[in-house]
Structure formats: C-alpha cells, structure tokens
C-alpha cells in the first residue's frame, strides 16, 4: 500500500487571498501522490482510486484525486458546492457513463478489478456497487416491485417465496418494514419523503451490493427523516462499505469514520473523522469547518 507523507504545512497554509483566487493547482513532484493532506489509504481497502481526473467536455471537474474506501467503513465526502464530490462518487460505479461529455482518467479498482478497464461490464459492477441518490427516486410502481426490481432483473431468485424473503429482509434492513408491510402493493411514490428515501435504500440493498454510494441522501428530507436515515446508515455499516457525499458537516461527523474534504475538484484532506473535525491540518479544511465559507 502506498502511504502518503503530507507535505510541509508551510505550502498549504495559504493566505486567505489565495482561496478567493482559487485553490492553486498542485503539481509538485516532491509529493508522494498529490496535494492531499492526510492518509488516503484504508486498512482493508475495498475500492481504491488513484490519480483520477474527470473532464466535462474540456472542463476539468476532478483533478488528480486518490482515495481508498475501506471495508465496513463509512467514508464521508464533504466540501462546498461544485467541489466535485458527487462527480467523484459517481465515478465509483460508472454512473458518469450516462453523461455523454464526461471523461474519466486514472485508475479505480474494486478489489482487484480495474472498473475502467475497457473489458469491464458495468452491469455486474453496478450490482456490486449500488447507489442511492440525492432526491428520493422510487419508480412509479408498487413498494414491492420497487424493492424486487433489482433481484428480478439480475435473476437473483428462483422462486416467488425467495423473492418475498429478499423484499422483506431489505425492507427490514432499511427500517421500513413495519411501516409498509400491510401495503406493499401501494405505489412507492405515495410514501413520505423520508420513507421514499429508505425505500430507495431498500431497493439498493436488495441486490446485496458490496459497496453503497450515497449522494446527499438526506438533502431533500426533514430533520426527523434525516435522523432515521442516519441511524440506518450506521446499522448498514456492519454489512456494507458505504461512501456518502453530504453537504452537512454535522452529518459527516455523526455517521462516518473517515472524512474526505474536496475543494474545487481537488481532494484537500483525508483523515479520521474525529481528527478532521477537531484538528484540521489544511487551512482550507479549517476554514470550511469553521464556517468561513461553504
């Protein structure tokens, strides 16, 4: 495993003026990997990303990001709007393929498989790396059909009873079973916002993925629903590897073990969540966490 030695603090504690002018691009050979402060590696990595660049047309959206996502951990990605955290997340199961002008460079591995290998098939990849989106997006079908969608298309079950079992287990894990068990044939879009988002989580875990990507899963929810989903994320950590993008630092602090701070397309700092929030090493991270911008 590569270990990263953070650069001397002198170069990164830029004066406030530099922030306004934009984060200065870092291309210094003296660094081990890039300008990131902190340890980008995980002890037992599930996914590893190295030197990832993402372009939208000619515009560079992600610049040279390297990051590990460890097994059974929740890693939070925070940063101001437009910093590229969602773009990076979408690279991890190649959802960016759906955007024509988007181009990805670098290397991202799931276990030992390069997921940008030309021979790789995105369908099983996405079955292994599931995704929950910002806005709850249940299909306009029944609750049951929403959850059963993944197992059905992937042919995971041989019989109706097996499928029933998966639906029930998934809804149980998503903490929604008790609320909907009597109305599984009602349309999913009829649920409340928080319930819809948990339904989407249930839909994702019904395929038994190994990694779950969550793109601001609570941004459209009220505080109570948010608390419920956060609880759920914590419970899911025992079985799954979770990467969550969030706009809220409190949420990152509550649910994650590691936190990565993105700024203008670059990964500025990574570290244990406690360390990042109590003792940020990079000036930008500190300014963000202390609320000077964001």
């Amino acid at each position: 495993m590569l270990s990263v030695t953070p650069d001397s603090m002198g170069t990164v504690t830029a004066p406030a003026g530099v922030i306004a002018a934009g984060f200065s691009p870092v291309a210094d050979d003296s660094r081990a990997i890039n300008g990131t402060v902190g340890d980008i590696t995980a002890i037992d990595p599930r996914m590893t990303a190295r030197h990832v660049n993402v372009y939208y047309g000619d515009k560079l959206a992600i610049n040279n990001v390297s990051l590990d996502i460890g097994k059974n951990e929740v890693i939070a990605m925070i940063g101001p709007s437009g910093c590229g955290k969602s773009t990076f997340l979408r690279c991890l199961n190649r959802m960016n393929d759906t955007i024509d002008i988007c181009r990805v460079e670098g290397e991202i591995r799931l276990d030992d498989q390069d997921i940008y290998d030309s021979g790789l098939d995105v369908v099983p990849l996405r079955a292994q790396v599931g995704m929950v989106f910002q806005k709850p997006n249940p299909f306009p079908k029944s609750i049951y059909d929403n959850v059963a969608y993944g197992p059905r298309i992937h042919g995971l079950t041989g019989s109706k009873s097996e499928l029933d079992e998966i639906v029930e287990q998934s809804l149980l894990k998503a903490g929604l079973w008790d609320e909907v068990k009597d109305r599984l044939d009602e349309v999913g879009t009829g649920l409340s916002g928080g319930q819809q988002q948990r339904l989407c989580i249930a839909r994702t875990i019904a395929v038994a993925p190994e990694v779950i990507l969550m793109d601001e899963p609570c941004s459209a929810l009220d505080p109570i629903a948010t608390a419920r989903v956060e609880e759920l994320i914590d419970e899911l950590r025992e079985q799954y590897t979770i990467a969550i993008v969030t706009h809220s630092m409190q949420q990152a602090a509550r649910v994650s073990q590691r936190t990565a701070y993105f700024h203008l397309g670059e990964l500025v700092e990574v570290g244990k969540t406690d360390d990042i929030f109590t003792n940020p090493r990079h000036r930008l991270t500190e300014d963000y966490i202390t609320g000077r911008f964001g």
Partner: protein, 432 residues
C-alpha cells in the same frame, strides 16, 4: 439471517450467470429500435422514389415538328382579318394537311384518321393562338412543334413496350412504325412541358396543366392567411396577456385544443352547412375554401403564437410597465415584436397544412372540373391537392404521370415553406 460473505458471493455469481442472456436481449431490443427507424426512413425513401420515378417525365412533352402552311383561303377567305373569322377558322385542317404531307403514303379513311390521331386533339389551338396574335402569319409557312396524343407520348417515353405483340399494345404496328420513322428523322422529340405548369385542367392529359389549380391554391391561401394570421395572433395575445383565469377562458382553451384534433372533413361539413347553405356564398370559390381552412388552421396558429408569447421573459414586460406603459402598449410595443418570429413560424406551418388539405374542400364543391384559370377569390376553382385527387382517379396512364408530377410540385411548395419556417426559427431564435 444470511451470512454477508456468502450472500455477496452468491449475488455476483448469480448476476454473471444470466448476464449473457440479458445482453442478448439488450442487443435485440436495440436492433428492433434501429429497425423501426430504418423502416420509417425506408417508407420516406420509397414514397419519394415512387413519386419522382413516376412523375419526372411529365415535365417533358413529346412534340412533332410540322411544316405548317397558313393558307389564306382556309383561315381568312375574305381577307378582312376579322377576329371572329380568324378565331373560328378550321385550323385542324391545316394541321391535317401538314401531317399528310409528312406521310404521303397514307391512304384510306381509317388510316388517315389514325394518322391524325397521333397529334393531340388540341394541337390546332396553338395555330389559332399564333394567328390571332400575329395575323401577318397568314399566307406564310413555318416550322412548328406540336404536342402529340398522350398514347404517343407514353410510347416515346417508353411506358408502352414496343416489343409486346400488337394485340396487347394500345398502339398498333402502323403507328409505331410512323413514330419510328419520325424518330429517325429527328422530327419527334421530348421538349420541356410549359403547358403542364401554366395550363388549366383538361380531359386530354397532354393539354392538362396545374396552372389553374396553383392559382386556386394561391387565392385560397391568401384568404386563409389574411383571416387566420390576424385573428390567430389577436386570440393568442388575449389569452396569453390579458385573459383572466376563469371558466370562460378555460372553455376557450379546451375548445382550441379540441379543434386542433377534429377531423378535417368535419370542417368541410361546417363550411357546407354554414357558409354555403346558410350565408349563400358561392360554391367552389377560394373565398369559402379559405374561410374553412382558416377555421382549421386557427388552432395551430393560436397554439404556436401562445408559445412564442410565453417565451418572452416577464422581465421585458416589467421593464415596460415600470416606465409607465399601459399593458396594451407593453404588449404591442415590446412583447409582440419579440414574439413575432415564433408566430410567423407557426403561421407558415399552418399555411403548409392548409396547402396540403383536401377533404374539407371536397365538401364545398372545389372538386368541379374547371378548365379556366381563376382570376379571383370568387371564381370557381380547384386547388392543387384536389387536382391531384381528380387526376388520380383518371384511368389514362398519362394522368398517372401528371398526378405524380403535380405531387412533386405540391411537395416542392411544402418543402419550401417548411425550409423558410426552419430558417426563420434558426435566425431569430433567442436564448433569454
């Protein structure tokens, strides 16, 4: 509970197990889609090929070169140059004697009649026209190309197979031999068919033209444009800019949307019952046709105009109102000019629809056989699509060619209008 590790292994293996099958289905679906698009394009291509292949030859007409002797004793025995005498003279006799001179060997009544039949029965009209225009021709001789009968025309254009046995052919061997003789001397050839573009309708295919129908379409469209554009724009302005949201405007809107989908023939019934039977307007007149088509195209124009008005941002209105303009001034000084390109585009598309419309015009009597070229919106006339309908019913092979050619002209006009609409849209398209 399942053991997570086992579960995970199972998932990916199971996914991989059915993957090939799923990709086959994906591929099949994609091919279906591509096939559907290609099939649609094939239909477009087939129709155009079919029509152009059938119709291009109608822009040429076979003519025979004859030496005409304008004998004074036939045309004007008295020498008074009286127009009445000149117009009623027996020009056909001049044509016949020229033909006989070309084929001196032809004897016997039947044979002669067959010889005369080679030329169009209206060929002598050309002589009359020339003499009426210039009486000085009388007593002189000149070389003149005269149109042949439609069967000969078909033979020269290759639609009648010369190798077929005589009994299965429309023309007998003698006529074919005459044509071949003329071909060898170069006295018969295909020339540009001006009559087709400028002439009125006729029972004789070689004399029939779309001139009358084009003029009828023109008058009808002018009436339609003059009525539908101001009314459509006014209605759109009211509905978009002034109308309160209430039951009445809802009713108007439902009506407009519904009228856009009412079968066109029903508008024809309306025209027949209201304009012709109730108001007593003349049948077959472009005025009535234009009124019926106005009612038909109004929904299109209103819907397009409203969309154009909607695309003008409210900030423009606020700016004008802010300096103290009345709402009416705001709309007429600022909003309407900005929305005009969109409205014009919609109007052109509506006009293109009106130009191609046939069914309602059948109801108001624009199907009559009309030889004269109409001179105004009240003269009985027909329009281009109805002319196509009438000719399509005629049994002669030559009319099939004319029909296809008339369709080519109609499609040409439609393509032109649509191109103008597209250019207008591209040119004035604004992104706010």
């Amino acid at each position: 509970m399942n053991k997570p590790a086992v579960e995970q292994m199972r998932t990916i293996d199971r996914v991989n197990a059915t993957l090939k099958q799923r990709y086959n289905r994906e591929c099949r679906f994609r091919r279906f889609g591509l096939g559907a698009v290609l099939l649609g394009l094939l239909f477009v291509g087939l129709m155009f090929l079919n029509i152009i292949g059938n119709g291009y030859s109608a822009f040429q007409q076979t003519r025979i070169l004859l030496e005409i002797d304008y004998r004074a004793e036939v045309i004007d025995p008295t020498g008074a140059r009286d127009p009445a005498t000149l117009s009623s003279a027996d020009y056909a006799a001049l044509v016949k004697s020229s033909l006989r001179a070309l084929f001196p060997a032809v004897q016997g009544r039947g044979e002669k009649r067959e010889l005369y039949g080679m030329l169009s029965s209206g060929a002598f009209l050309e002589l009359r026209r020339r003499v009426m225009a210039d009486p000085g021709l009388i007593g002189t001789r000149e070389q003149l190309w005269l149109p042949v009968d439609d069967d000969i025309d078909m033979l020269v254009k290759g639609y009648i197979d010369r190798r077929l046995p005589e009994s299965e052919r429309r023309l007998d061997n003698r006529v074919v031999a005459w044509v071949e003789q003329l071909e060898s001397t170069g006295a018969i050839e295909k020339q540009f068919n001006l009559t087709f573009l400028t002439g009125g309708d006729s029972r004789e295919p070689e004399l029939a033209g779309i001139g009358g129908a084009v003029m009828g379409s023109l008058y009808t469209l002018i009436v339609t444009l003059l009525l539908s554009f101001p009314i459509g724009v006014a209605a759109a302005v009211y509905l978009e800019e002034f109308a309160p949201r209430n039951r009445w405007t809802d009713l108007v809107e439902v009506n407009i949307n519904n009228l856009a989908a009412v079968p066109s023939i029903v508008f024809g019934l309306l025209g027949l019952a209201v304009f012709i039977n109730f108001f007593g307007l003349p049948r077959s007149a472009p005025l009535v046709g234009g009124m019926v088509l106005t009612l038909m195209t109004l929904p299109t124009i209103i819907i397009a105009s409203r969309a154009a008005l909607k695309s003008v941002p409210p900030s423009i209105r606020e700016a004008a109102l802010g300096v103290g303009a009345s709402r009416m001034q705001t709309v007429f000084h600022h909003v309407l000019p900005l929305a005009m390109p969109g409205m014009l585009t919609g109007t052109i598309i509506g006009m293109a629809q009106a130009l191609g419309e046939t069914a309602p015009l059948l109801m108001i009597g624009m199907v009559a056989f009309i030889v004269d070229i109409p001179g105004g919106a009240l003269d009985p006339s027909t329009v281009l699509p109805v002319q196509i309908f009438l000719w399509a019913d005629s049994p002669e092979r030559a009319f099939m060619e004319k029909t296809s050619a008339a369709i080519m002209v109609l499609l040409g006009f439609l393509i032109l209008m649509n191109v103008i609409a597209v250019i207008l849209r591209k040119r004035f398209e604004r992104r706010w």
